[in-house]
Subunit: 331 residues, 2 copies
């Protein structure tokens, strides 16, 4: 019997995230029952949301990964054996396959993907990042042409798509990033109107310069000091979409939020969202984003890690901000 | 020529609010032109919103009262002379008459009120407090029967109406107040399900006891430590309506808000609002609240101050929490 490699979560994170939280195991490739099929995963997505899935404190979100279970993740693969009439050998599929080389499925939550589509593009645009950007911007943010949008984590997988969608819709788009290289990429490659390097720029002064008319829409992916500087500059009736707080995910002491007085003075609306609530809208979200992709308005770049075990250290790149583009593990 | 007394704002508040900010002046009762009428004010409303009107930092809200101008306020009075066909001598009217015994009007923004209605009831229920409560609860908060609502400033003019409306709609209602007397009033007179005295109770422990199933809707009138304790206990898809932050109005150092991580985890919506944005909805808001009043579901109590000049010290009662009920100056 042939075996394959899987990685289980065996410890909850407290501070850093690395190989000490995981266990690499060998498993036996299972026999198929009727209705099942076997997927050989080719590309595995690493997403900031996974940091939440590893923490115990998520009772009102989706259940955390149980200790001893395969680490949860989405990925793309090929069907290599099937006893399910809807999935044939050779089909390219997308689903929550986890950190493992092979995954057994009954088809639930698995979608077929055109075999001509590059798996990197699937995971970078049509999977969680694109769905999240689309739901967050249109489902929560109510963007209007002519408005000014600021997005943090702007070179990240979600932020880069949010900014490009908004730019295509006629908003002024300012991105906050953590390196000059990323600033250059979002302005010169993606067409953002401006970029702020939060590590080196005076954030407030730069916002004053780039967002002269104030900020109508803030798409929050990171938290940190940016949050306060943007909050102070929100326009009346502004909206804030809270999608991620990467800077606080593993913080022992959560950072203080802004005082609420401005929520009244500016009549702000602040909305948090997570994608599991909107999974049923996947077809509509894909329908919304597809024309932008077809018109070439959504560029992406992926940061490829090689081999299953690279995932264990790869997650840390979200904290250091060293990833350039969508993090994907190639198996 | 006869004269009357008016009070002008002559200084911006910084910390406390008292007679040092105002100037009492004598004015000549003006001659009417065509289309004008003269109102003798009988009752004047003191509202927390006035603290905002006195501050210079309200550029995105409504304009502040100019220094040297009569202090802004709403009130009820009788038409004593009229050259306006829509307003007759003897009519009872409501409007923004300011801190003065007489007000000249062309009818703009002035509404006739049934002469049988007690002016105290008009100012306590059908004026700013009732309109604010109705817009905040229904226009922003989306209350649902069976949900748990917490309201701060629960014995205040807005909070007490919010709680009674929600209670009539089948929500569980918990009020936060600053004295045992107020706690007793909201539970035993208004029918709230529970009360917390934020000055003497362990707020967190008491919330755990009273809101066993968590909190779905928080109506924020005060800010302060209550905000954090409630925020931590919000349920998934909870809503927070931010109406007032009395504890921060004159603070030199604004208090820290809660960390935003829970906004994502719980998918919260936080909305600020102010009534000038909704002035055009006054007829609909009155239509909404009237049936509750007619069914006897809205009780109120007014705290009457005697004489125009009592307004200058009266505003401080909002900070000390010593007012019992809607603050009204009787002229």
């Amino acid at each position: 019997m042939s075996t394959y490699t899987a990685i289980n979560l065996v410890k909850r994170p407290s501070g850093s995230i690395g190989p000490e939280l995981f266990e690499v195991v060998e498993k036996t490739v299972p026999q198929l029952e009727d209705g099942q099929f076997l997927v050989k995963q080719t590309h595995m997505s690493l997403d900031p949301a996974m940091l939440g899935w590893m923490s115990p404190d998520t009772k009102s979100y989706i259940p955390p990964v149980e200790l001893g279970d395969v680490m949860r993740s989405s990925g793309v693969g090929k069907v290599v054996e099937s006893r399910n009439p809807d999935f044939a050998e050779g089909d390219q599929v997308m689903g929550m396959f986890g950190w493992q080389e092979y995954a057994l499925s009954d088809g639930k939550g698995v979608n077929k993907v055109d075999s001509n589509l590059d798996p990197e593009m699937v995971l970078s645009v049509f999977a969680l990042p694109g769905l999240t950007a689309t739901q967050g911007l249109y489902g929560e943010g109510d963007p209007k042409p002519g408005e000014t949008l600021v997005v943090s984590g702007a070179a990240g997988s979600v932020g880069s798509i949010v900014g490009q969608l908004a730019k295509a819709d006629g908003l002024k788009v300012i991105g906050v990033v953590g390196s000059d290289e990323k600033a250059d990429w979002i302005v010169n490659e993606l067409g953002f109107d401006g970029a702020i390097n939060y590590k080196t720029d005076d954030i407030g002064a730069k916002l004053n310069e780039l967002a002269k008319d104030g900020i109508d829409l803030y798409f929050e992916n990171t938290g940190g000091p940016i949050q306060h500087r943007v909050f102070e500059r929100m326009n009346a009736h502004g909206r804030i979409v809270v999608c991620g707080m990467i800077s606080d995910y593993t913080a022992k002491q959560p950072s203080a939020g802004p005082n609420w007085m401005n929520i009244i003075r500016k009549r702000l609306t602040i909305k948090g969202f997570t994608m599991p609530d909107h999974r049923h809208k996947t077809p509509q979200l894909l329908e919304k984003i597809t024309p932008y992709v077809q018109k070439g308005q959504i560029k992406y770049r992926s940061h490829i890690l090689e081999g299953l075990e690279s995932a264990m250290t790869g997650l840390n790149l979200f904290f250091t901000g060293e990833n350039k583009g969508k993090l994907i593990v190639k198996l």
